[in-house]
Amino acid sequence: MEKKLYTLIVHSENIAGILSQITAVFTRLQVNIESLNVSASSIKGIHKYTITAYSDEEQIYKISRLIEKKIDVLQSRVMTDDEIFIQEVVLMKISTPVMLNNENVCKTIREHNAQILESNHTYSVVTMTGKTDQIMDLYFSLDEMNCVLQYSRTGRIVITKSTEEPLSDKLAKLERENH
């Protein structure tokens, strides 16, 4: 079966140990996590996990079902790239002397709509948001000019394109049923 990059969006209660329960499902099936982002969601007390992994369709749905089975997991959804808006953030520390001596460095930063957050005599900090390939294009361009000192990229964060909000709907339904 063909493997492609899938995104899982998981919502859980904010209880210690949920992340290890989620990652244990990937471990059990020996699937590498490509990226992982965890943060509080817009709903109080609920955390959101955005996980990407290369998998085939059957396997990723199996993973999702096993994750959703965990007691404190509210929902797990499998998404493909055409169903979501995707963003990542990169931070790069680049050499200020190289930047000043090579006009193409600044030109490349401008062309990628990246920003300089901080600059001193030794280094400058560049940031940009975008999709993986856009970020990697900036990195490779700057790296070719031998100016990259440090590089750090987040996992992807996503929101769905759908007009439905299944988790909010589910929680509202539960509230109605229990009051």
Partner: protein, 571 residues
């Protein structure tokens, strides 16, 4: 007026009492001592709130809790210490997870300031048990005790049942606080009894009404849901033949006219062959385990499959389902039954008989009614079940004793099979039999074991001695690890690598534990020995010297199609 302050240990006692706990299987140790100190007051002869069963090894506590849960319908509770105490329960927790048995393991833990310091008898219990339990939680403050205990019971005993682990640090056990009882009966992220889709109910009824050759597969889910009567009405209204998984065997009486026996690798020939001929399979509370399906890619390809289950992750996990009915089968079966037409499948049902006869002629006759040669497992089991009027609880260990027992023991009562199904845990039987007997004190418990499995947890004879648990132990002694020997014979060219086993003198062991004992080596003495065992009050060890090299048949070899059952093995 000052409010009452109590310790965390006392709060645990009150919380367990509030949940209706009456029996605890446990073993004390350093980090659980405050709890055992509180327990002392709850087990005083003048006011015994709890019956604490002191096992001889923590693995025994977990399996005994499983046996207790399976026969009583209540949650089995274990109480053990930290570190090695609780790691000894891991096999039982995993076993309970595989077989959906509601148990709660409460373990001591080092004090919270010492957690992570590699303190004496510290182990990362939550980390270890998360993948093999339904819920694993560390109680970090005394105010959480009532909530955590109630939540543990709610999770263990609802939905798809299973084990829960509570990690209880020592300083939380000793901390004093104002206790307030709590009841958890709702968790927003957990839907134990989901609502089935109406269209799936309709589709199921339509398929069943149109079926010419239907076959119902009955799993333990029917027993766990207490849906015996609902299943009976379902199969009888539409005249549906059924067969059971090993753990579903007592969901319906063995002698029900529509009962076609047991599914699986060592199941009956008829239902396994007919699986490949039927046009509609209706699976109720079973999970299409590899032991039932044989080669899954060729399993019932000709049939439409309707799957009733309480856990949606089971749908199409192993075998693709055409109709999925999510929910508690106690509720979903009547929904479908209501839409069924009264039907007649007599010709189809009749067609099982030729296979029943073939199996009888080739396998059962020689196993159950031999007239010469050494004693057989099958004949022993058949005589024991008959001696109990088919009303006893069957407990098995794992291996040939297990397969023979479930093949030849018969059932009239529900909750009568206690065996390690999914995990296949040797050593499960003896402690599980203790728990089973305590969970159903009015019933006879017959525990069949082999010489290998008995020796794995033989220390629990001490528990039987102390508790005076009336377990009838039937040791089918063949001086081999019989099942592995059979596979070595069949698939490893008769190379019996470490399967012959030297045995101790069980008579002396029984005597040491003050347990009644008899050895049977001759066929003529078997009936009388069984009769004496059943009529003797209290525990009994009946050692039966059975044929050493025997094969459990029929058998679907691993990787074969489910209907490719061997009825004989050429030696």
């Amino acid at each position: 007026m000052s409010k009452e302050l109590i310790t965390g240990a006392e709060a645990l006692m009150r919380s367990l009492q509030a949940e209706g706990t009456t029996t605890i299987f446990g073993y004390p140790g350093g980090c659980i001592m405050p709890v055992f100190d509180a327990l002392y007051d709850y087990t005083r002869p003048e006011n015994p709130i709890f019956n604490h069963v002191l096992v001889r090894h923590e693995q025994g506590a977990a399996h005994a809790a499983e046996g207790y849960a399976r026969t009583s319908g209540k949650v089995g509770v274990c109480l053990v210490t930290s570190g090695p105490g609780v790691t000894n329960t891991i096999t039982g927790i995993a076993d309970a997870m595989m077989d959906n048995t509601p148990i709660i393991v409460i373990a001591g833990q080092v004090g919270t300031p010492a957690i992570g310091s590699d303190a004496f008898q510290e182990v990362d219990l939550v980390g270890i048990t998360q993948p093999i339990s339904k819920w694993s939680y560390q109680i970090r403050k005394p105010e959480d005790i009532a909530w955590a205990v109630s939540r543990a019971f709610y999770i263990a005993n609802t939905g798809r049942k299973g084990p829960v682990v509570l990690d209880f640090p020592k300083n939380v056990q000793t901390a004093k606080f104002e206790y307030e009882p709590q009841t958890v009966d709702f968790i927003r992220s957990y839907t134990p009894y989901p609502t089935p889709a109406a269209d799936q109910i309709d589709k199921a009824a339509e398929l069943i009404n149109g079926a010419k050759k239907p076959l119902v597969l009955v799993g333990q889910g029917v027993e766990l849901a207490e849906a015996r009567e609902e299943l009976k009405q379902f199969v009888e209204k539409a005249n549906l033949p059924f067969a059971s998984t090993m753990l579903g065997l007592s969901a319906m009486p063995s002698n029900h006219p529509l009962n076609k026996g047991m599914l699986g690798m060592h199941g009956n020939l008829g239902p396994n062959v007919k699986t490949q001929e039927c046009d509609v399979i209706i699976a109720v509370g079973m999970r299409f385990s590899d032991r039932v399906t044989g080669r899954p890619s060729n399993y019932a390809k000709q049939a439409k499959i309707i799957h009733f289950d309480i856990d949606k992750t089971e749908f199409s996990k192993n075998i693709p389902a055409d109709v999925c009915i999510l929910g508690n089968c106690k509720e979903t079966l009547p929904m479908v039954t209501k839409l069924l037409i009264e039907n007649n499948h007599n010709e189809w049902i009749e067609s099982f008989k030729q296979y029943d006869q073939k199996e009888y002629d080739k396998v059962i006759s020689a196993e159950v009614h031999p007239t010469t040669g050494p004693l057989k497992m099958g004949e022993t089991i058949a005589k024991v079940t008959k001696a109990t009027g088919n009303k006893a609880i069957l407990v098995t260990d794992v291996g040939q004793n297990q397969m023979m027992s479930v093949r030849y023991f018969k059932f009239t009562e529900p909750h009568s099979v206690v065996s390690s199904g999914g995990l296949g845990t040797m050593g499960f039987g003896l402690p599980a039999a203790i728990g089973a007997a305590i969970g159903a004190p009015d019933r006879t418990v017959c525990f069949f074991t082999g010489d290998g499995g008995l020796q794995m947890t033989i220390e629990e004879l001490g528990t039987i001695m102390e508790q005076k648990t009336p377990v009838k132990i039937i040791l089918l002694n063949n001086n081999y690890l019989g099942n592995v020997r059979q596979w070595q014979e069949m698939f490893f060219n008769h190379r019996y690598s470490f399967t012959p086993m030297m045995n101790p003198k069980y008579e002396l062991i029984a005597k040491a534990y003050d347990i009644n004992y008899e050895l049977v080596t001759e066929r003529e003495k078997l009936d009388a020995a069984i009769d004496k065992m059943i009529k003797t009050e209290g525990a009994y060890l009946l050692e039966v010297a059975v044929i050493e090299e025997v094969d459990v048949l029929p058998m679907t070899p691993p990787g074969a199609n489910v209907d490719e059952m061997l009825l004989e093995i050429k030696r």
